[in-house]
Amino acid sequence: MALVFSAELMADRDAASTATPLPIEAELVARAKQGDDEAFAQLVSMFQNRVFNFVVARVRHRQQAEDVTQEVLVKAYFSLNKLREPSKFKSWLFSIAHNHLRDLMRRRKLETTDVEECHTEHYVDPDTPEKEMKRQRTRETVWNALVKLKPEQCEILVLCDIEGLSYREIAEIMRVPLGTVQSRIFYARRKLRVILTTELSYLGDEI
């Protein structure tokens, strides 16, 4: 079945995601660009968890993920004048994080430790401990499987499935064509399925 994958076919989701930025976000960016540090601090509080989550999926080491997140946010502050469209602050921030992580990878400055160190213990309902424990175990396994993917596959799934960014936004962040975004997601999910099948069957669980 031959289908042409074009940008026009995907316009709606992209338009929906970019046309509804938080109005306060653009306003804060405009104020921060004029030197209002308080506005930038508010932006940090709005986006620090998103950046941290994106970074921790790649870095696998909590302390280092904190340092990298800090560096990304500081870089954003000093590069704020380069941001042309304040409404695209979020994807711009992710592109800084993506480039910074790539640089660290090139310089081999990323530590690789077990992801279990990174994730905090979640609340377990005492009434249904077994069910909850199983769910939690599955979540941990999915995290572990996610970080076993190639760096670009891991990043793309976090951006698409956790952050809910459109293909066009992801293409801008990673500086790749739309077709590459689609194929990377396709193969990343396939690989994820293989890893999960192996790990969950080892634990005696089902996917």
């Binding site: 076919l9 540090d37 620090q48 976090v158």
Partner: protein, 192 residues
């Protein structure tokens, strides 16, 4: 295309319907589509980690630290630039007014300036009146030194020639061991 369908990225209704009808009749694509949806759901369910509460403080502290550092660096660059300009001007000034390596620079000056060598000849109480005056002063000192060298050079050459004269086949250094030999001979005779 199945990935885009699972992610809701296909805006064109006709294309979406076309894909759906294809999925109804193709098991392989149906399975692939199910896999894409399932993995999307698994990742979407992950609970995001939270950055530490101190992150804002850390970020803002680092920003102000770097801003201070930038100011210091800017001043350092300004000082370094000023120092470089002063050095370049001094070197250029020296090169334009006096070029000691140029051949015959001293000889080219007129001989009608037989002023005696003086250590300083300030035109006013504070020192030299101008840079040109300083150059003339240094030139005269150099001329005096050259004159002394010209006077002493032949005499020195004669002394050296005399000391190392080898016409009679003997040198100061060769005489020493012979004297020692004679002394030893006399000492041996006395002992006997």
């Amino acid at each position: 295309m199945l990935t885009a369908l699972a992610d809701g990225e296909i805006a064109d209704d006709r294309m979406r319907e076309k894909l759906q009808s294809h999925l109804d009749g193709c098991e392989e694509c149906r399975n692939e589509y199910a896999l894409q949806l399932e993995m999307k759901s698994k990742v979407s369910e992950l609970e995001p980690d939270a950055a530490p509460p101190s992150m804002i403080t850390r970020v803002m502290a680092e920003i102000s630290h770097r801003q201070r550092k930038r100011v210091v660096w800017r001043w350092s660059y300004a000082y370094a630039g000023a120092a470089a300009i002063v050095t370049v001007l001094a070197v250029l000034g020296g090169t334009l007014f006096v070029h000691p390596s140029a051949p015959g620079v001293y000889k080219s000056l007129p001989e009608t300036a037989p002023a005696p060598l003086t250590l300083s000849r300030p035109s006013d109480a504070n020192g030299y009146g101008s840079f040109a005056e300083l150059v003339v002063e240094r030139h005269e000192e150099a001329r005096e030194l050259l004159k002394v060298r010209d006077e002493w050079t032949p005499e020195l050459e004669q002394i050296v020639q005399r000391l190392s004269d080898e016409e009679d086949g003997e040198s100061l250094y060769k005489e020493l061991p012979e004297e020692n030999a004679e002394d030893e001979g006399e000492r041996a005779a006395e002992e006997e």
